[in-house]
Amino acid sequence: MAPAEVAVQEAPVVHGTGRVVNDFSIQVATVNGSGSQTANLVLLRSIFRMGVPVSGKNLFPSNIAGLPTWFTIRANKDGYIARKKEIDFLVAMNPETAREDALSLESGAAVVYDEGLALDAVRDDLVFYPVPFDKLIAGVCTDVKLRRLVRNMIYDGVLAKLLEIDLQQMEYALQKQLGSKPKAVALNQQALEVGFAYADQHFEKRDPYVIAPMNETAGKILIEGNAAAAIGAMMAGVTVVAWYPITPSSSLCETLIDYLQKHRIDERTGKATFAVVQAEDEIAALGMAVGAGWAGARAMTSTSGPGVSLMGEFAGLGYYGEVPAVIFDVQRVGPSTGLPTRTAQGDVLSTAFLSHGDTRHLMLFPSSVGECYSMAVEAFDLAERFQTPVFVMTDLDLGMNTWMSDPFPYPEKPLDRGKVLDEETLERIGRFGRYRDVDGDGVPYRSVPGDKMPAYFCRGSGHNEWAQYSERPDDYQNNVDRLARKFENARNWMPAPVVEINRQASIGIIAYGTTHWAVVESRDQLKAEAELETSYYRVCGYPFRPALASFIERHERVYVIEQNRDGQMLSLMKLDLEPDLVRRLRSVLHYSGLPIDARSITDSVLIQEGYRVQKTGADTSRVPRQAGVGGE
């Protein structure tokens, strides 16, 4: 079903100087629950502050403490921030995986590790930097409990020295991270310095990797997609939030609560201009959002696959009763509970048709944290404009990892509350029929409880234009035909695709969501390695814009690249497009749970284009053999 994942080996780009500047990845291997988050984010931010494009991805297990975790930072002067398969610089802190971690490196990679692990006995073709962490930390801190927490900051110090990262930027980043806890800052700062000093005194630089200042991040921010979506929801004026915790979506609502509590408390009364409920489950969460949307609130929920599967019945009610609601689906790996802490784009097809009986849904596909923000705002407008549930399809990679971005612009447009009945309209249209297609666009007017406009009865059972219960075939058919028209009209309101036409290209690439970042890099690889020119179409919404067909028409072969087994977006296209266009489509699929990387795309496209590609190992080296029994 899926093409085998093959990959030519990427040689580290060694410059004339023998130095690899701003183009490598660092991986920190720890145990979850051991408190390495601060050290890793400080490392990330300090590189970012030096003006070098970065991304940080956390590969963590689905439990709370005690299992292997990897944090990978990619610094790349060209702005490639997708996951890269190869690790150039390893920090091995986890005794359980250290051997395997070291074995999986390419020859010539560097490894900072705890002295006691004696990794230099495992192989001899790496650059070894053993550090006596325990000894060093003992000097920093007497409290045994605290040692565990600041120990990790030592490797930041070591790396600062080895990678030539500005220590001041590290200190700034530390301040940023722990600013509210001065004692913690001081302690960590000490650890940082101890690490730096140790490296300074004991290590001779023997690997080529360094960070040098650039000017590529000025003005930019670092943020996770979930936080970005939360800010978007707040700026969209969300008033009712009902949610149920689930990885990887929980932090969306949790961050939102934080922001709302800070910025949406009425100054005069000290009361909240919002209501947030942790519901008893996802059915109730969407039920509350639907109830609130019906009663005029801007309402939302946020969840992941299992939650979406539970929301089917209410999603259908929202579609047929025509109730606005925004649902963030931060996708993780399915089927079923699947891999709760891994990323995928696997809910696309089932969400499009979520619920029985000719139901269809609008979907948005943010690719970046910036779009998590802007599409969150847009989703509320679309939900009210089209009076229907709108799904914002993000994923774990976007939602929970840290991304660079331009700062988010303040919304230009006022809130679009859609066709809410007012006296003027009522006069114009005469009698109010809740489901009457007055304007010929399939979108009827609605009134809202308490607004003194004519009331109506909302229901999931058959109804006519006047919102009366009806089992008449003509009423039924007129109504669902109008719904189909409304859906069709929504096409042109969906966020526009991002299209890059390359006049020399006979090959097109289509992607969406986080797959974008690997595509950007892969297109350059295709050009560099095989002189393959490509055009690019990034899908931002469903139903598709008409531009999709014209894009495909311009190209002989079009690769649809996505992170699921079944080629779900391609499937939606098959349903929509003329067979002539469908014939041009090919699939590039990646579904290991890890974020897609450029190499996998490039190789798959090259193979499908008839090139011979040298095979490398499967994309699994960075994951524990000892994946124990347990799990969410």
């Binding site: 921010i221 009425d266 909240a272 209501a275 509350m288 639907v290 109830g291 409880p449 308490g450």
Partner: protein, 347 residues
């Protein structure tokens, strides 16, 4: 003697509305269905209390009972949601606009089976809503299967015997924190109207379990309540007033007394009206009374428990007084400075 002729003045309530302005569409339920009587009582209570219909939202799940919101307060908004999920929809609606008066109607199947999870959590939240269970011990709309409030041992028309004990929704509601819990009978006009009026002036969850005979399906041969059973086991049978099919049962009895109600199928219901001096403020006693009457095969009726000043869910959430739904943009979209500050903090 000449009499001044003035147009006959219809009786109006304190906000100047006539009773008929509280009516809804014509019912499509069976004639004699207890649910219809309950709709009448809701109409009456809202009229008498002078409730503004446009402030009311009527909410329901799915079932015969859940259809009834269409049959009262026609000028109020209504939402006939999906089966068993009225609580979440009602919660959302009240969050959107705390100034609404929410009247939720559910069935014993809608609440006791598929909806019991949402019921539990609504009670726990003390959401301001009148939550009425039109309780007939069966699934009317799907043709008479047992619901979780059906009598142990009764036998449905299909021959299936109910082998599980009934759930007591009043006991559950009290245990879970509802601040107003009552039980009544669809045909007890006086008591039900009084309870509804009290519920309309209560702030918080008012849970009303209203026994409401299904004339079509709750007619179980072999049931401990059935006509046949009564005939075999009850001596003063001849004294029983046979209630003809398709006619409302109505009763009226005194506080402290027990009333035997003969249902359409001849089965009997024993209602024990709480004493006039019963103290509904005492939770422990309320639970005890429920248990005791139940063990005697009786249903305690009346206002069983009330906690008059418990903060409701909107209070707990500290939501502004105005409806969230219609707050203007200035109050829900923070100014540019806020966004800029956030951006700054992320550098």
């Amino acid at each position: 003697m000449a009499v001044a002729t003035s147009p006959v003045r219809k009786k109006v309530n304190r906000i100047g509305l006539e009773s008929r302005e509280y009516r809804g569409s014509k019912t499509t339920l069976c004639a004699g269905c207890g649910h219809n009587a309950i709709s009448e009582r809701i109409i009456g209570a809202c009229f008498e209390m002078g409730i503004e219909p446009e402030r009311v939202v009527k909410l329901s799940g799915i079932g015969c009972s859940s259809k009834s919101p269409a049959y009262f307060l026609g000028s109020a908004h209504g939402f006939n949601a999906v089966h068993g999920r009225m609580p979440s929809v009602g919660t959302g609606a009240m969050l959107a606009n705390r100034n609404l008066v929410a009247i939720g109607v559910s069935g014993d199947g809608d609440t006791g089976a598929i909806g019991i999870g949402q019921f539990v959590h609504l009670m726990r939240r003390n959401l301001p809503i009148i939550y009425i269970i039109e309780d007939n011990g069966c699934y009317g709309l799907t043709k008479g299967q047992f619901s979780p409030t059906a009598d142990l041992g009764s036998k449905a028309k299909t021959g299936v015997v109910n082998d599980l004990p009934p759930i007591d929704t009043c006991a559950l509601a009290i245990e879970l924190g509802a601040s107003f819990v009552a039980r009544s009978f669809s045909g007890d006009k006086k008591q039900l109207t009084a309870i509804l009026k009290a519920a309309l002036s209560h702030r918080g969850t008012a849970m009303l379990d209203v026994l409401s005979p299904c004339v079509t399906f709750n007619d179980h041969e072999g049931s401990t309540k059935s006509y046949a059973y009564a005939k075999a086991h009850d001596d003063p049978l001849e004294e029983i007033d046979f209630v003809p099919f398709f006619e409302d049962i109505s009763i009226d009895y005194e506080p402290g007394t027990t009333q035997e109600v003969v249902m359409h199928d001849g089965s009997k219901l024993y209602l024990k009206k709480l004493d006039a001096d019963y103290d509904p403020l005492n939770k422990v006693q309320a639970m005890r009374v429920l248990q005791e009457t139940r063990s005697r095969g009786e249903f305690a009726t009346g206002l069983i428990y009330v906690e008059p000043v418990k903060p409701d869910f909107l209070d707990v959430l500290n939501v502004v007084d105005e409806p969230l739904a219609t707050l203007p943009q200035e109050r829900v979209r923070p100014p540019k400075t806020v966004l800029d500050d956030i951006m700054e903090s992320l550098r």
